[in-house]
């Protein structure tokens, strides 16, 4: 077991950010940590790297306890951090340094010998695609470039366990695809990856396990397909329908909200397109347009909270 969290509780004043969270990440997994804004994703991650003090619970890293009942064992934590790569959300690096200087300082924190360090810096910068700008000041970088450097700094110690907080937020579609490739390659090298996001598409294709956190608790866990099926059952399909003339849905078993004179929103738990055709035709009308919308993650989250 790479990471085990048991009953983690974190209050910020009156706000309960984590409410007895349990979580396990196994060796070799790519674990997608999904949740809406404010669900407690960052709080979980910050607790794992020892940057905040939860009030209750236990954290084990690499099979060794680092946190128990409000206290970190700093020596064990430092040992564990040697094998961890962490990428924070909304962080900037030192503006006045270049990528090479930045990674050099980070490498020094791990006491990587000078010669080995420069080799590693080259390798990592090439991996994230910043080798061309290795001697430019970070202050002038675009958001995407800064994001890449944040990833690079988490890789400098060749970590066994990568913890990434919203690594794909702010990247364009090609950036996301590229990022997923990098994650896949790192996973093939044997690294365990744990990353958070509030967008379903981010965890698609690369995660073998997904955990959904809402209001400080894991609500769903498993592989992505299972979770999606459960999602759809909970939230249902939304159909936006336009007809040639007014239709009465009084006898229908679906939940229908009129959106206009001849426009309706219908929410169901399964696909009813065929049935709809017949229903509309039975009243002498025809369907002009029909849009079927799968629920967005946000909508599912909202349903789960309710």
């Amino acid at each position: 077991m790479i990471l085990r969290i048991e009953g983690l509780v974190k209050n910020y004043g009156d706000v309960r950010a984590l409410d007895g969270l349990n979580l396990e990440v196994k060796q070799g997994q790519v674990y997608g940590f999904l949740g809406p804004n404010g669900a407690g994703k960052s709080t979980t991650i910050l607790g794992t790297v020892g940057l905040i003090f939860p009030q209750k619970g236990r954290i084990e890293l690499f099979g060794t306890e680092v946190f128990n009942e409000g206290k970190y064992d700093e020596n064990t934590l430092v040992e564990a951090k040697k094998k961890i790569g962490y990428m924070p959300e909304h962080a900037t690096l030192w503006d006045f340094l270049t990528p090479v200087q930045t990674l050099d300082i980070i490498g020094e924190a791990f006491k990587i010998p000078k010669a080995e360090r420069s080799k590693k810096i080259e390798e990592v910068l090439k991996l994230v695609g910043l080798w061309e700008v290795k001697n430019k000041k970070v202050g002038n970088f675009s958001k995407g470039m800064k994001q890449r450097l944040l990833l690079a700094q988490s890789l400098i110690n060749d970590p066994d366990f990568l913890i990434l907080d919203e690594p794909m937020t702010g990247l364009d579609p090609s950036g996301i695809a590229e990022f997923k490739n990098v994650i896949r390659d790192l996973n093939k090298e044997g690294k365990t990856v744990f990353f958070s996001s509030h967008i379903l598409a981010h965890v698609e294709e690369i995660c073998d396990t997904v955990g959904v956190i809402v209001k400080g608790k894991i609500r769903l866990e498993g592989n992505l397909e299972t979770i999606k099926r459960e999602f759809l059952q909970k939230a249902g399909y939304t159909i936006i329908l336009e007809t040639t003339r007014k239709v009465s849905f009084e006898d229908a078993e679906w939940k229908v909200t009129p959106l206009g004179e001849k426009k309706y929103r219908i929410v169901t738990s399964h696909d009813i397109r065929e049935e709809l055709h017949d229903f509309v035709a039975s009243q002498g009308a025809k369907i002009l347009t029909m849009q079927v919308k799968e629920p967005t993650l946000e909508e599912i989250f909202i349903q789960m909270v309710e």
Binding site: S42, I52, F53, E74, V78, P88, L93, Q153
Partner: protein, 294 residues
């Protein structure tokens, strides 16, 4: 510890704050020596070694007690919160570095930065005194060293006070504002009020004279301004030289006692600087070790 030190030192030498203070000190002090020189030339007075040393001590103390003090408080007040805002602290502390080692290294770097600012004012003052006709002696070297150490201690107290602000106030801008207000209210306005009271109370007493007033000022400063390291340093440096002439305008007629003598003579004030520094540092470090870095 060395890792945090190196990182912080590099960062500080790049900040505008530091260079701005250095430039302001240079711009204000270099012309003042020029005017003093022309004053001496006009009045035809000759500067004695004793007077030169006493002027040197006053010049360094005057320069640093304002500018370097502001620098110290500002460095301290934004030391931690600004790093949390930027996110660099989360990156640094996710590496295998202990919190106490990191803050310790940061503190050492701040000491070095302040020492550089102090040495700068010392060099400006030294060159100024040489320009006015003073000369180097062994005692001068020893005393300048002692004075710098004394001032450094006072500045460290301000940095340490800043650390507490920096761990309590999340926004670095608010902390900056508070530090500036503190600087003016607690370290400038309140001391003037205390001094004024001393003067007023001497004037009311039957045997009012300058010595009586100075005695009362010193007593009040020790009692009511123990939290102001600059006032404490000023009490100490008062005793570095004694004015011999009854005429207060006769600044060149002094007996020079030395910095070591002045410290020995004012151990209570020296102790105030030390114990508060230790207290502030302990609180600041403790809070940093126990705080959420988000």
């Amino acid at each position: 510890m060395m890792w945090g030190f190196k990182l912080e030192f590099k960062q500080n030498l790049r900040t505008k704050k530091f260079w701005l203070i250095i430039v302001i000190m240079a711009v204000l002090y270099i012309p003042s020596f020029y005017f003093m020189k022309s004053f001496f030339l006009q009045s035809g007075e000759h500067i004695t070694n004793e007077a030169a040393m006493s002027m040197l001590i006053n010049s360094i103390t005057g320069m640093t007690s304002f500018f370097v003090a502001i620098l110290a408080l500002l460095i301290g007040a934004t030391a931690i919160n600004s790093e949390i805002e930027k996110g660099t602290l989360r990156i640094a502390m996710s590496k295998p570095i202990k919190r106490l080692h990191y803050i310790g290294g940061k503190f050492l770097a701040h000491c070095l930065v302040l020492l550089i600012a102090l040495l700068f004012s010392t060099i400006v003052s030294l060159l100024g005194i040489l320009y006015l006709g003073g000369s180097f002696t062994t005692q001068l070297v020893v005393d300048v060293f002692l004075l710098n150490m004394l001032l450094l201690l006072a500045m460290i107290q301000l940095v340490a006070l800043g650390y507490i602000i920096s761990t309590v106030i999340k926004s670095s801008n608010t902390a900056l504002g508070l530090a500036i207000i503190l600087m003016f209210v607690i370290f400038m306005i309140v001391p003037s009020i205390v001094n004024f009271l001393a003067i007023k109370n001497t004037a009311n007493s039957p045997n009012a004279n300058i010595e009586e007033m100075q005695k009362l000022q010193k007593e009040y400063t020790t009692k009511y301004l123990f939290y102001d390291p600059i006032s404490q340093v000023k009490v100490i440096t008062e005793d570095v030289s004694t004015t011999l002439s009854k005429n207060p305008r006769d600044i060149l007629n002094v007996r020079y006692n030395g910095v070591a003598y002045a410290i020995r003579n004012n151990l209570t004030n020296f102790a105030h600087i030390i114990w508060l520094t230790i207290l502030y540092l302990s609180i600041g470090f403790y809070r940093f070790v126990k705080m959420d870095l988000r």
